[in-house]
Amino acid sequence: MTAAVDHVMPAPRQRTVRRNWLRSEQGRGFTLLSLPFLYALTFLVLPMLVVFAHSFWTQTYLTIDRSFTLENYRIALTEPIYRDLLLRSLFISLTVSVATVLFAYPIAYYISFYGGRRKGLWLFLITVPFWTGYLLRVMAWKVILGYNGVLNTTLMGLGLTDKPVESLLYSTNAVILTLIHAWAVFAVLPVFVSLEKIDRSLIEAATDLGDGPLRRFMRVTLPLSLPGVTGALLIVMIPTVGDYVTPKLVGGTEGVMIANAIQAQFGRASNWPLGAALTVSTMVIVTAMAGAAVVVMRGFVRALR
């Protein structure tokens, strides 16, 4: 009898356990979040793993050979065209992220310390251009920097030059300028948030203890805001390395970046494994560069203190 009961009992108990789990804080939260999580898993993480797998395969015409090889990586990292594109993309994304953050810091500082009651309005003003569509903004720069564009014709109209300055469009500089404009908001917001978190009494304390404005800024405000600066650097650096539109529209041959080569492998050239290896290499290297940036920033904070 007892044996039989023991035998029957576990099923309902298990069911109650499961029901209790589903009703618990842990269960409810987990279940709710797992829906969007599964979406991201299916359409982002798994596809990225497929790309990773492809990077070790080879393709002849339309058939994929699934035997393991590192040949794609050899081509991606040592062939001059791809190596140069990769280096240029890294150089551009590093330059753009540093410049964007340098330009953004004063404006974030101004809004945080002097924005007063209009902070919300200022932030809205900064974010609005970002919402106007990336393609449209790049297109605007094409209109400005073009051979017969706004800048050249204005310079000529003012008599500053007598023929168009050719280096304005279709150059690395044009790509860098356009990207700095496009990513401005991503640098301002993280810096602003970290400046907002600074306890203002710390700055008063520094003043009371006799620190001048510059010294106070260097020893209190700047070190405390560096987490935001690091965040801003990363959030600009990582996406810009894979930019496709800007180099295509304003970069010309000099400003081509790695994304243009990746796109070619999935389009005209149709070499998916090489495209996959280029993608993985870019991601790994930019992640390493981002990691290095974090280490450098930490060292900077220590040096300041």
Binding site: E25, Q26, G27, R28, G29, F30, L32, L33, L35, P36, F37, Y39, F43, L44, L46, P47, V50, V51, P106, Y109, Y110, F113, L123, F124, T127, V128, W131, T132, G133, L135, L136, M139, A140, V143, I144, N148, G149, V150, T153, G157, H181, A184, V185, L189, F192, V193, E196, G212, P213, L234, I238, P239, G242, D243, Y244, V245, F266, G275, T279, M283
Partner: protein
């Protein structure tokens, strides 16, 4: 003294910075009503002919219809998924919350080309055709982090005792959701829908790789940019999209602030 010093150059810098952000964008509307086909100063004269030329353009109208379909579907799916995520994040404590939200928010910091080619490769691999459906799948991925940010800012500070009170007064779970939870969260939800729609409307990269033969408006614009003669009409179309985005986002921001007020939290920006 520091105040006087910084007050001296910071406001000037702020104005310059805002000018740098806005002037390039302002050129689109300015040249879209210029009668000369070449976008240079000085302006020739006022003309609406570039806008008029858009009307009879069936390819453009078809792209606009596609954009509308993709934007509406992406906004709906992203917001539904976003509601689940935002509710889980603001209401419950549980293990796995951080890594799971990390994966969901990842598209915010990934280069868009990675998202696009990963999806493309899987679709080609399984022999699935490209269509507006595939663009929607990609756009949901991209809109989701923004939707969650907006919704979390609206849901934060939502007092669960309202729901408990409703349950104590005899409402069913469904009744509580319909009559208490949803009305309080509605402004944030509307804001999320509008923000997601705007992102989808302007998104280029994913649509470029995944749209196949069904172009959206940014893809149509991309195709037209090759022809210098088409530029003024493209500027006119761009201006319409610009104004559309601005109207949608201003309304979204108003709703988001209302949501923040309803749940008694501090108002912040879309990201802050």
């Amino acid at each position: 003294m520091m105040k006087a010093l910084t007050r001296g150059w910071l406001p000037g810098y702020a104005i310059l910075y805002i000018a740098f952000l806005y002037l390039p964008v302002m050129l689109l509307p300015i040249f879209s009503v210029n009668s000369s086909p070449i976008p240079v100063f000085p302006l020739k004269g006022f003309s609406m002919k570039w806008y008029e030329s858009l009307w009879g353009n069936d390819i453009m109208l078809n792209a606009a219809r596609n954009t509308l379909v993709v934007g509406t579907a992406s906004a709906l799916v992203a917001t539904i998924l976003g509601i689940c995520a935002a509710r889980a994040i603001t209401r419950y404590r549980f293990t796995g919350k951080r890594p799971m939200s990390g994966v969901i928010m990842a598209p915010l910091v990934l280069p868009e080309i990675i998202i696009a080619i990963s999806l493309l490769l899987v679709l080609l691999q399984f022999g699935l055709g490209l269509s507006l459906m595939t663009v929607i799948v990609g756009h949901v991925l991209i809109c989701l982090p923004y939707s969650i940010t907006v919704l979390v800012s609206g849901f934060e500070g939502f007092d669960p005792s309202f729901e408990e009170a409703s349950a104590d007064l005899g409402e069913t779970t469904f009744g509580t959701i319909r009559r208490v939870t949803l009305p309080m969260m509605m402004p944030a939800i509307v804001s999320s829908l509008l923000v997601s729609f705007t992102i989808s409307l302007d998104e280029f990269m994913v649509a470029f790789f995944l749209s196949g033969r069904e172009p959206t408006l940014p893809i149509y614009i991309w195709g037209q940019l090759r022809f210098a003669a088409k530029l003024p009409a493209v500027l006119a179309l761009g201006t319409i999209m610009l104004v559309g985005s601005l109207v949608l986002l201003t309304v979204a921001e108003m709703y988001r602030r209302r949501a923040a007020r309803k749940t008694l939290t501090e108002a912040g920006g879309l990201f802050a």
